[in-house]
Amino acid sequence: MKYVLDLNRCQDHGQCVFAAPNLFALDENGKLSIRREADGEYESGEIPEGLIDELEEAAGICPVQAIELIDG
């Protein structure tokens, strides 16, 4: 499984960080750290089996539904 994160939609609420601390982080300015390497849409690589549960959690919790899961 992969995910696509829509960084235009993302509002940096950071709830994904609580749900999936191994996949998402906030930087020192409170912005999602992925923003350093991407803008627009960020597509992840294949997510390891052991992290899929927290990824699904993050997708569900995101208040603006910016994380889309893609079955690989």
Binding site: R9, Q11, Q15, A19, E56, E57, G60, I61, P63
Partner: protein, 431 residues
């Protein structure tokens, strides 16, 4: 030689999947009127600033330092009023009343607890939606027959409370609504609503406290046990009263607003029969539909904030202490941001909205509300072919104040033929 007319050769037109309200509630005319005057204006009757643009609502909601929640202790001058606020929200450490770092930590953890619990109980939420939808009759009043029952049943499930019968569920829903009314009445001090609010709050606490005390060991996966664990991570002196306050907050935030949410979904479906078949055929559209209902006709019309400093907003001088009414419902239809904002568009990705608020106080239970809405629509499509407003009754009003939904909602329901039911169970694997 014969000529075919133009009409004969036009390709069959596939109509876009979209809907709209037959008529917008009068509030929306007010929003439209204000758009001509600007994103923010002084509202004499509300004695505060009315804010209607997407960008400005979001800017204010995102900045808690400049624009504080109105229940912040130092902003409420009257001690008796503050006591009522505490009572309505469940206690002095209820999430809504926390501030700064404590609020941030509890908010993130509680949102995670609620979302994770809802996800693992998703099959149960589906069962509950099925239970309440399947038994609907041919002529119903939707609020009494379903919308007041399903939200408290879902909350009871995530808390792992014993099953309540309809009468008990309705009592809980009534107490929640009264408690919310009590909190709102602190602005006006209407004595009857104040008394009803206090009484509703007391009854809810009485019902919940034995379970809070029973689960102090915090070993379970239910929300009460989780709130024990989460609170202890943030506070050294976390008590049963504090856990109770968070439980009450979930009832406060997730009952009345979800009732309105379900009513608004149902109203849209009853007045847009063209949406039923596309939703049934492509269940992926249900998510988009839910988001569009939340955007176009939100169950919570807005939020209130207090300016903590003098500030210039879109050319207006807002003074420290001024009240700001943020009409997210108007912001959700801001023509600067949205093309054909009044249309529910099921053809594209869901459009971003402010219904769950933005910033540090974004709704911590949005995942539960979404799950409930989606499972309700799935159940409805499973058991019914259509619904229409009952012509024997006046059109429903858009009832409430900040929380609003169509009520009473008298409907005529068309049940699916028996032989179609099992087919749907097969088709509904897309979840």
């Amino acid at each position: 030689m014969s000529h075919r007319s133009a009409a004969d050769v036009i390709e069959p037109h596939i109509r876009p999947v979209e809907g709209r309200l037959p008529e917008d509630p009068p509030l929306y005319a007010e929003y439209q009127q204000q758009r001509k005057e600007g994103a923010i204006r002084w509202d004499k009757s509300r004695r505060g600033w009315s804010v209607i643009s997407f960008d400005l609502c979001k800017e204010i909601e995102d900045n808690e330092v400049l624009y504080a929640h109105p229940d912040r202790r130092d902003l409420v001058n009257d001690e008796e009023v503050y006591k009522m606020i505490q009572l309505s929200h469940g206690g002095e450490r209820a999430l809504i009343l926390l501030q700064g770092a404590e609020h941030r930590a509890m908010h993130g953890s509680m949102a995670r607890d609620i979302s994770s619990r809802t996800r693992s109980l998703r099959p149960r939420v589906q069962q509950l939606a099925d239970h309440y939808v399947e038994r609907l009759g041919e002529r119903i009043e939707f609020i009494e027959d379903l919308a007041n029952l399903l939200p408290t049943a879902v909350i009871s499930t995530v808390f792992d409370l014993p099953w309540l019968d309809d009468e008990q569920q309705l009592r809980v829903a009534r107490d929640c609504t009264a408690a919310i009314g009590g909190a709102r009445e602190t602005l006006e001090r209407d004595s009857q609503a104040w008394r009803d609010g206090a009484e509703g709050a007391r009854k809810l606490s009485e019902m919940l406290m034995p379970f809070v005390l029973q689960r102090e060991a915090a070993e379970g996966e239910d929300l009460i046990s989780r709130f024990w664990r989460t609170g202890r991570e943030v506070f050294d002196d976390w008590t049963a009263d504090d856990v109770l306050a968070q439980c009450r907050t979930v009832f406060f935030a997730g009952s009345n607003s979800s009732t309105h949410f379900l009513a608004n979904i149902m109203y849209v479906l009853a007045t847009n029969p063209q949406l039923w078949e596309p939703l049934r055929e492509e269940p992926k559209r249900i998510k988009v539909f839910i988001e569009e209902v939340l955007r176009v006709i939100p169950p919570v019309q807005g939020r209130v904030r207090i300016a903590t400093e003098d500030v210039e907003l879109d050319g207006q001088s807002v003074r420290a202490g001024d009240v700001l009414y943020l009409f997210n419902a108007a912001a959700n239809r801001d023509p600067v941001r949205f093309d054909r904002p009044e249309m529910l568009d099921l053809e594209q990705k869901p459009r971003l909205h402010l219904t769950f608020n933005s910033g540090p106080r974004a709704c911590a239970g949005s995942s539960t509300a979404r799950a409930e809405g989606e499972e309700f629509v799935r159940a409805l499509l499973r058991w019914f072919d259509g619904a229409a407003l009952d012509p024997g009754y006046p059109a429903p009003d858009f009832m409430g104040q900040l929380n609003r939904g169509f009520a009473p909602l008298h409907l005529i329901m068309t049940r699916r033929p028996e032989h179609m039911l099992s087919d749907d169970a097969k088709d509904d694997g897309d979840r």
